[in-house]
């Protein structure tokens, strides 16, 4: 635990999103629009992890991530943990929970889907299948693996 926290600099107050699936930290940065956050955001990519092999990590100074926001990032961090830090101490810790319905974020990969032709808020049902996340479009009803999703929308 000690060594892991050392690999990315510690923060005084804020949120650490840990155990993000490797390669997905930047998607979370985009999703939560952390690039326009006024304080320090530290991103660690491909850090060694006992449970995941490699993982990404994000530390956001001066922001307490809500559980609702945590659920939205769950798609990129199905085993993610969120640590709320106050005065260098973890005061609250919870796991991300994948919502049963993901709205807005995903662009449907099916070019013939109505959502790619009219301004529609997309909706995807999450189908958790032995650790492999599948997503079903509410409109065209096609089922995709997460790796099939090529594009995500900003807020």
């Amino acid at each position: 635990m000690e060594q892991k926290t050392l690999s990315v600099s510690a923060i005084k107050d804020g949120t650490v999103i840990d155990h993000i699936s490797a390669g997905h930290a930047l998607k979370i940065v985009r999703l939560l629009d952390l690039a326009s956050h006024k304080q320090v955001v530290t991103i660690g990519l491909n850090l060694p992890s006992g449970s995941l092999g490699v993982k990404d990590i994000i530390k956001v100074a001066g922001k307490e991530l809500s559980e609702e926001e945590a659920d939205r990032v769950a798609m990129f961090a199905p085993q993610g943990t969120v640590n709320i830090i106050k005065d260098f101490q973890v005061v609250k810790k919870f796991n991300t929970r994948l919502p049963s319905l993901i709205t807005h974020i995903i662009v449907c990969p099916n070019p013939k889907c109505i959502t790619n032709h009219e301004a529609i808020e997309t909706k995807f049902k999450t189908i958790g299948n032995n650790g492999q996340l599948k997503l079903q479009c509410h409109y065209c009803e096609k089922i995709f693996l997460q790796s099939d999703i090529l594009e995500y929308k900003n807020n």
Partner: protein, 305 residues
Amino acid sequence: MASLAGRSIVSIKDLSKEEILSVLGKADRLKINPEPRLLEGMVLGSCFFEPSTRTRLSFETAMSKLGGKVVGFADGAVTSAKKGETMWDSMRIIGQYVDVIAMRHPLEGAARRASEATNKPVLNGGDGANQHPTQTLLDLFTIRECQGRIDGLDIALVGDLKYGRTTHSLAQALTHFNVRLHFVAPDSLQMPDYICEELKNAGVEFHIYDKMEDVINEVDIFYLTRIQGERFPDQMEYERIKNVFRLKKEMLSDVRNNLKIMHPLPRVNELDEKIDDTSHAYYFEEAQNGLFVRQALIASVLGKI
């Protein structure tokens, strides 16, 4: 069982087994006892954003035979869609004029979207390669009619099983019943994995073949579909398969007496016209049954039966 009144039917999965059986039962009754005044004073909006003469005529005739009126368009490309109006706006406005909507659209998910645009029931007559639930219902109705049951049957689905939405929806609907399925297709056009997985999860027995002869003598229903040339990058391969996947009268010499051949039509050359006069041909009855099933569905969502 929830009432179908006021509900949109976009996907066959919108209906439970009880609801499917209830629609089939109502179609049975309407086939025997026509109700020419049941929907007097009601209007069907027939919204075909893509032409499909047979499906459209079947919906419109169904409404007319129940005493209702029909308004609409047969080809969306020449109406508002061309002026840049969204489908959402069109359906919202049309929903204010009519009591029920039948629609077809080239884009997948269009019917689901339309059902969110209006509070009138929307019946999906095909959204791209996605769903066509009235076809599935008329197929189930036809199977039950010609065999007297669905449970216990051996049913072969034959042809383009990879891209054919008709066979996908039928296979999914048959998970409600105790049937054995037999998939006959060239390797490159076999039933997709996600359907096979659904069948496994539902405990449905299925078998895979690449020749019609391997299974035709052992089934009660032989459901044949068209193989389209544009699916093949290699035209020589298509020519070869086209000739392998051709049902000829000679192939029926040892089949079960009760075998019925179904086909969603139109056919090209996969179904020999010499079969039309045999006791096994049932595809024209199948097409006619669309009328009764659509009557039952329209009247159900309008809360009239």
